[in-house]
């Protein structure tokens, strides 16, 4: 079955070390660093570099014990790549920066700030595209928006209480200051800032039959992908300022889909209608990749989609908790996954 697909995912690295499930991973957008976080309460940073023969090598660069009292559920890099945020089940958010030692060389990762406020487990954290805002969400049903100020100071700009259940994930639009959140209440909500007033919910997307676990915006910002407990990935098209419509439902997953990531794909071909690639992963242990492009011929606004790669048992019998495309130029064909086996794995998509 897999031989029919035009692309395969080949393994580039298998990174162990976490002593419990690895929940989430994040690629540093500016440097060759991959961060992972775990139920073992630590964050691990892996560097990668090409050796003389063109092979990409990954190595553990640092293990940050964090000091969180419970699971670290999510990590996010600031756009500058200098700051790392951690979201923990202990309800706090940690802000981490690398101190420079006496010679000006990067040294230990230190906690620059601890953001408190959520009443229960913090599930996700994300920086806006400019890095001036940080969003967090929690089982307490709220989404918090923080403004990043100099000296690692954070000011809370809003506490949004629109969801009726746990908020599982937050994701910022790639260019605009629009925030999306996914929830245990089966909906996706979008928020914007009213200059005269406060942050408010400008749209609610319904359609999923169960918890929304993960969200990912398309690189061009016109679409949003969501992964759900209902075993589907939905693609929503932005039709108006805050008007979204579900245009695709991607099926085939046999258990909950825990993560979705929308990458630029193999856009080395200058293909204007290409929308990039969606990767999904979840409880069935399979990584799936779809290729999407705008449908110029039809009058309908449904993109063309085809499954281009499928990798079963990426983490053996274990659930995959997170799948993320590398955002850096020159590395767009890399995909990282983290699983219940505590492993972080890196894959390269290439033609079969």
């Amino acid at each position: 079955m897999d031989e029919d697909l035009p692309y395969t995912l080949s393994n580039v690295a298998q990174l162990g070390g976490h002593e419990d499930r690895a929940w989430h991973i994040a690629w540093n957008p500016a440097k060759s660093l991959l961060a992972s976080c775990s139920a073992d309460k630590s964050v691990k940073l892996f560097t990668y570099s090409h050796d003389g023969e063109g092979t990409l090598n990954f190595a553990l660069a640092a293990s940050i014990p964090t000091g969180h009292l419970k699971t670290v559920r999510s990590v996010a890099w600031s756009p500058s790549g200098r700051t790392l945020a951690t979201a923990s089940f202990d309800s706090n958010i940690g802000i981490w920066e690398q101190e420079l030692d006496d010679d000006g060389n990067p040294g230990e990762w230190e906690c620059a700030s601890l953001l408190e406020g959520h009443e229960t487990e913090c599930k996700s954290v994300a920086y806006s595209s400019t890095g001036t805002l940080l969003a967090s969400c929690s089982r307490d049903k709220t989404v918090w928006i923080w403004e990043v100020q100099p000296d690692s100071d954070f000011e809370c700009m809003g506490v949004l209480m629109e969801h009726t259940q746990d908020v599982k994930c937050v994701a910022w639009h790639p260019t605009e200051e629009i925030l999306a959140s996914g929830s245990y209440d089966d909906t996706i909500k979008l928020y914007v800032d009213d200059p005269q007033d406060d942050w408010f919910c400008c749209a609610t997307l319904t359609g999923h039959q169960s918890t929304v676990w993960s969200l990912s915006w398309s690189p061009n910002g016109k679409y949003l992908a969501s992964a759900s407990d209902d075993k589907t990935v939905r693609v929503w098209r932005r039709n108006g300022e805050y008007e979204f419509k579900c245009v695709l439902v991607l099926e085939g997953q046999e258990r909950s889909v825990y993560s979705v990531s929308w990458g630029v794909g193999k856009s080395s071909q200058e293909n204007d209608s290409s929308l990039g690639c969606i990767a999904s992963a979840g409880g069935d242990g399979v990584v799936r990749v779809w290729d999407l492009s705008e449908n110029s011929s039809s009058t309908a606004d449904v993109p063309l989609v085809r499954l281009i790669a499928r990798l079963p048992a990426a983490h053996g019998v274990f659930d995959i908790n997170s799948v993320v495309w590398c955002p850096r130029k020159g590395y767009e064909d890399l995909l990282a996954t983290s699983g219940d086996d505590g492993m972080v794995k890196v894959w390269r998509i290439q033609r079969t």
């Binding site: 419990d20 139920a39 699971t71 229960t120 746990d166 599982k168 918890t211 086996d341 505590g342």
Partner: protein, 173 residues
């Protein structure tokens, strides 16, 4: 935990004779979540046997879990039974029947069943724990909680809740 008891007068049934399953799966391990020996070899699928696990073996694991409110096992209260266990390829679905439709202990019972099975079964098994359809007034809400991986993980980091689960598993109710 509130002081209210949801079912002050449960019907207690006599336990059936122990099943004749020849293979014994290990029960209460010390480690809460991680099965140490298996953890250090994540890629090794060295379960001693790849034989099929049957309903009776699963039932043997959960029959002696105690109800949180009464000094009776889930078997004695007919909360769990072998026919309510469905086994497929690397997956197990356990259906349990709360004693009353408004039972507020359902999530705790479901969590106890999950913990017992996680500790005892090979990691390849995906577990679905649900209430018997029609047996609970908040069936969907209970099922959703019981099978939300993140909620379960967070619950098991709550020391008070873990102690209550342990009491159900060991009978110190």
């Amino acid at each position: 935990m509130s002081g209210e008891i949801f079912n002050p007068n449960p019907t207690v049934f006599r336990s059936s004779a122990k099943s004749h399953s020849s293979r014994s799966l290990s029960t209460a391990k010390k480690s809460l979540w991680i099965n140490e020996p298996e953890w250090s070899q994540p890629d090794q699928e060295t379960d001693e046997e790849e034989e099929a696990i049957d309903q009776d073996e699963i039932f043997d694991l959960i029959r002696n879990i105690y109800d949180p409110e009464h000094p009776n096992t889930l078997e004695e209260l007919h909360v769990v039974s072998a026919p309510q266990i469905d086994i497929g390829e690397n997956r197990v679905k356990v259906e349990f029947t709360p004693t009353v439709p408004h039972c507020g202990m359902s999530t705790l019972i479901g969590l106890s069943i999950r913990v017992r099975l996680i500790r005892s079964l090979p990691t390849r098994f995906k577990l679905d724990i649900v209430v018997k359809p029609g047996s609970h007034q908040s069936e969907n809400a209970v099922n959703k909680q019981l099978n939300d991986k993140e909620r379960v993980a967070a619950a098991l980091e709550n020391p008070a809740l873990v102690k209550t689960v342990e009491d159900c598993l060991t009978g110190r109710v």
